[in-house]
Amino acid sequence: MSQSVTVDSDVEIPQENDADLVSVRLVQDGAVHIAYGIALLIDDKPVDPPVASWPHSKPGEVYFVATGLALRGLKMDCYGRVYLAGDDTTKLHCDFLVDDTVVATSATAEIKLSSSSSSREFHIRSHFV
């Protein structure tokens, strides 16, 4: 059994955006097949409905989440799987936006795919503080 690529980071949405609607997008740097979803978590349990549903969400697409104030104290998991029948490295992170402007960014998951490891699962977790 192998472990997924998991990164955790604290994300701070600026206080001046407390009343603004925050959106999220997954940014991919490295062209490999990807499937993912995004879920908000309360007490580590996913909130229904998801922010972005598995598995047909596309990198770069923007999904509205909640106001900056409502997010504080919650967790978000951007989870998925990448695959390539070849060698490449893909870097994934989440951008948090207000009015199309990036106000915060998650940690980056760097995933190396090779002939001996063609797929990996990943979790990019953001803890809103």
Binding site: D29, D43, P46, A85
Partner: protein, 407 residues
């Protein structure tokens, strides 16, 4: 004639009447080398790679030029290494501008002297974020998608080597490589078959969100995808690929970067076509490659008369057919060659040959070939020859594999 004395040690090769001995590494050597290779990080700007010249000296060519020419010029050949006849054991693949800078810095010491063994290959449009680098942009239809793929796969390479074993002279090559065309099914990022398998796995083995800890991966999904990747790799000869490359070269008699002067360039193009279905059984596949190559202003020195040198231009047109699997193949090749201003003046010749290529271990191939050449004014004629070599590759692929699999 090729004779194996000891499978773990020596191969004797008769070539133009000379008997050559090639040492094949022991299993222990191979394991150590494989471990060293696999242990290297993909990005290793701080390490100083070792370059192995394919010839004892890049500028000391034998008078019989046709027999020294390697017709192998795979689609995935790295231009700078090929221009200097190098087979680097370790290549640095910078993935950020900072890593590229650090790798280049390793090529020159504090006194401005070029360091031997520089071997860099990178994708400049990716690392400087000059194009979108996500899968949707890569898969896009139309001209936008074509340009994204062209620039994504565009490579920049750099290499240095000693021009002669007995002097401080250094050579430098900067290479540019482009994939001009690749059909959809040959490209693992665009293949509809690959996309279907990935969709199937995601539908049947979904990943779930996690609030803490490091979740285990789904072993069944991983195995299905690994099998699919292995199967794709087995079939990677199929389809059409067309690549082109160019590599200007420089040399410095003192070895200092400030004394570099141009020594011409090397350029080539290769087209590969692989049959879609297996030709024999389930795994024996076939591929045809055609290439045209031109080398301008190559400085050559007669090894038997150091005062005799020439700046020659060379054209090579060659074709090769091969049958086999990803680990073993047989090939036949034919090439036409013409030289201007060579050590023996102008002249050309033909070469026909056949051989085998066998993977010994990861990144290492044993290549044996034999054939006959039919020369003109600049070559000896009608001679049988045999060549044996151990090729230490920079990728775990055969010589003629299309790009896109990450070569």
């Amino acid at each position: 004639m090729v004779r194996i004395i000891d499978p773990d040690r020596l191969v004797t090769v008769t070539r133009n009447g000379d008997v050559l001995e090639i040492r094949i590494p022991t299993k222990k050597d191979l394991q150590a080398r494989a471990e060293t290779t696999t242990a290297k990080p993909e990005v290793a700007p701080a390490t100083k790679p070792t370059a192995i010249p394919a010839t004892s000296s890049a500028t000391e060519k034998k008078k019989d030029p046709l027999s020294t020419i390697n017709l192998d010029r795979p689609i995935s050949a790295v231009p700078a290494f090929t221009a200097l006849d190098l087979s680097p054991e370790t290549v640095s693949h910078p993935s950020t501008p900072r890593e590229l800078g650090a790798a280049l810095q390793n090529g020159v010491d504090h006194h401005g002297v070029l360091q031997t063994g520089l071997a860099i290959e990178t994708a400049p449009f990716r690392i400087f974020h000059l194009i979108p680098t996500d899968i949707r942009s890569y898969q896009a239809d139309g001209i936008a998608g074509y340009w994204n793929r062209f620039l994504y796969n565009f490579s920049l390479s750099a290499a240095t080597s000693k021009a002669s074993e007995k002097s401080d002279a250094m050579q430098l090559a900067i290479g540019f490589g482009a994939l001009l065309y690749q059909d959809k099914e040959s490209d693992p990022r665009r293949s509809e078959g690959q996309q279907k398998i990935f969709d199937y796995v995601n539908e049947h083995f979904p990943v779930s969100p996690s609030g803490g800890g490091i979740p285990e991966e789904n072993a069944e999904a991983k195995k299905i995808l690994q099998d699919a990747a292995d199967e794709f790799r087995k079939n990677q000869w199929k389809g059409i690929s067309w690549a082109a490359a160019m590599a200007p070269t420089w040399s410095s008699q003192t070895g200092k970067a400030g004394d570099l002067s141009g020594t011409g360039f090397s350029t080539w193009t290769t087209v590969a076509y692989g049959w879609k279905d297996a030709l024999l059984g389930d795994s024996i596949r076939g591929q045809i490659l055609a290439q045209a190559r031109y080398r301008k202003n190559e400085l050559v020195v007669d090894p038997n008369d150091k005062t005799h040198s020439a700046k020659q231009d060379t054209f090579i047109g060659a074709a090769r057919i091969r049958l086999g699997t990803v680990d073993f193949n047989v090939f036949g090749e034919a090439g036409y060659f013409y030289q201007w201003n060579g050590l023996n003046g102008n002249g050309g010749g033909y070469r026909a040959a056949g051989g085998i290529e066998k993977r010994i271990t990861t990144n290492m191939w044993l290549v044996l070939s034999a054939g006959e050449q039919f020369g003109g004014a600049a070559t000896k004629t009608d001679e049988l020859y045999a060549i044996g070599s151990v090729r230490i590759g920079t990728a775990d692929t055969p010589q003629y594999s299309p790009p896109g699999g990450g070569d």
